[in-house]
């Protein structure tokens, strides 16, 4: 099963506004390897090659915090989604 299919099994309540913000200047200029592209368990980060910009599909965020730690250049500003939003685990 693909990871995006796995995410459809979880319960999400998606806010209109993203709780993850990317500083594209830091991301482009400072970060060579872009760990977020492969370390996110939900595989939510992708590189838009047209404008060389990392984009994040925040709606499927598992709220694990891995990207916040792995982005050692500090380009990712990650906070919890607002109350009442985000992933709702039914097993945990």
């Amino acid at each position: 099963m693909r990871v995006d299919e796995k995410l459809t099994i979880d319960a999400f309540k998606t806010d209109r506004e993203s709780h993850i913000k990317i500083n594209h200047d830091i991301c482009r200029d400072k970060c060579k390897i872009k760990y977020c592209l492969f370390i996110c368990p939900g595989h939510l980060y992708t590189l838009n090659e047209e404008n060389n910009e990392v984009v994040v599909e925040f709606a499927g965020c598992l709220e694990c915090g891995t990207c916040k730690i792995a982005c050692i250049e500090g380009a990712i500003e990650w906070i919890y989604p607002r109350g009442d939003y985000g992933v709702q685990y039914r097993y945990g």
Binding site: M1, V3, K6, L7, I9, D10, I33, Y35, F38, I39, C40, P41, G42, H43, L62, E63, C64, G65, T66, K68, I69, A70, I72, I79, Y80, P81, R82, G83, D84, G86, V87, Q88, Y89, R90, Y91, G92
Partner: protein, 429 residues
């Protein structure tokens, strides 16, 4: 303004335990939880060890929705295409309430309902955004438009603890101090679980894997049996992950693990019912934050109370114990009518007398010891290879077993100076 006795940020195990003990003393306490209900944002591997906390929990866990009592422990070293396992069981584990597997969405929710019956306000669906200050003292929290004033704020907001950070109590979060855990909950009938894991009704198995599961990176795999599901997952150190070349995708690592012959057989026919992930504190004693300040106490994962002992990973009983001790500290502070760090220092000194800081201190050198690819690559490859060579019978006549074994051990480097030194270092752990 009116202040309540305590506001607790986060309805996880430490926050709820703290609230429970405060409610027993008729203290006014509010728990603010950002999920739909306590437990809905929480993830565990995982199992809860009850022995360390049995003398302090009182009746708190009476009737708790445990999944299965762990009576069987397994460890597997996974080579590239072979493996070797240890399977342990013992009467002592069967006869006592040693450890149980749990699922947090059930467990935490149940505990919060017990709290509500005790008159505690548990407010779900609110994210705490900030702390309220009066000079250098914390006097409450702000959640959206709401302000809640309290004599003490209990930061029980998990490993990412934004509250401890805002209070200036937290170390900068570095990749080497954290691991990422990825977990799948897989539905499997009770009967199949009993058969496949060789356990009786309500009995369970805890199975840890190291080696190929993380492709040699710091970490491992786990499988815990629940009533009618299994919790299957992997844990990888974030530093090891970002240093790995060529890069590996985290979600693909999980799939490779499930595709292993050893694992696939155990979950065959099961259906995926949840996919989750969370970071885990891995630094042990050296990663612990400052535990209190004027008007604030930090508990559980927020404080860094998690312990990778190599053979098992612990955290939840530390969370419960720290929550209970935090409650005792708030009670002391109320008696003294002083909520400054001078009085709240009781929290740390009491933790030092209990297994929480004692065990963490005892194991303080383990993270550095485990920061060695021997445990995640060399040993998991060498031991199964050795067994494979012993058990393989081909066309050539077999040499003398002892002689071949000795030769293979020498050739693999198992008898090298480096390995003997590693073995010798073990005595200091």
């Amino acid at each position: 303004m009116d202040k309540i006795d305590a506001v607790i940020v986060g309805g996880g195990l430490s926050g709820l335990s703290c609230a429970y003990k405060l409610a027993e003393k008729d203290m006014q306490v509010i728990v603010v939880e950002r999920g739909d209900f306590p437990g809905s944002k929480n993830v565990t591997g995982g199992r809860l060890y009850l022995e360390p906390i049995k003398s302090i929990v009182g009746d708190m866990l009476d009737g708790a929705p445990f999944e299965r009592k762990v009576v069987r422990e397994r460890w597997s070293l996974l080579g590239d295409d072979n493996s070797i396992s240890i399977d342990f069981t013992g009467e002592r584990f069967k006869q006592t309430n040693h450890s149980y597997t749990i699922l947090r969405a059930y467990f935490d929710r149940w505990l919060s309902e017990k709290l509500i019956e005790k008159g505690v306000y548990v407010i779900p669906k609110y994210r705490v955004d900030d702390l309220l200050w009066e000079g250098d003292t914390i006097v409450g929290v702000r959640a959206g438009e709401e302000e809640i004033y309290a004599n003490v704020v209990i930061a029980s907001d998990g490993v990412l603890s934004f509250m401890a950070e805002k209070a200036g109590l937290k170390q900068k979060m570095k990749p080497k101090n954290y691991a990422v855990g990825i977990k799948e909950v897989i539905e499997l009938s009770e009967e199949k679980i009993n058969d496949r894991f060789n356990v009786d009704i309500n009995e369970g198995c805890a199975h840890l894997f190291i080696g190929d599961v993380t492709k040699g990176m710091f970490g491992g795999g786990f499988l815990y049996t629940n009533k009618e599901t299994v919790s299957l997952g992997i844990v990888v150190g974030i530093k090891a992950f970002i240093e790995k070349t060529p890069t590996i995708e985290a979600h693909a690592l999980m799939d490779d693990f499930k595709d292993r012959y050893e694992v696939g057989r155990l979950i065959d026919g099961g259906s995926l019912v949840e996919y989750s992930a969370h970071i885990i504190p891995e630094a042990g004693y050296n990663g612990i934050s400052k535990l209190y300040g004027n008007g604030i106490i930090v508990t559980g994962d927020a404080a860094g109370f998690a312990l990778n002992m190599g053979v098992t990973v612990r955290g939840m009983e530390f969370a419960i114990a720290s929550g209970i001790i935090a409650a005792e500290s708030v009670i002391k502070a109320k008696e003294a009518e002083d909520y400054s760090e001078k009085t709240l220092a009781y929290y740390e000194s009491k933790l030092r007398e209990t297994f929480v800081l004692k065990d963490l201190y005892t194991c303080k050198d383990i993270p550095a010891f485990l920061d060695n690819d021997s445990f995640f690559s060399f040993y998991p490859k060498s031991f199964p290879d050795l067994v494979e060579k012993i058990m393989w019978f081909g066309e050539e006549p077999k040499g003398r077993i002892g002689k071949s074994l000795w030769g293979e051990m020498k050739a693999s480097g198992l008898l090298s100076f480096k390995r003997l030194k590693e073995l010798y270092t073990l005595k200091n752990l």
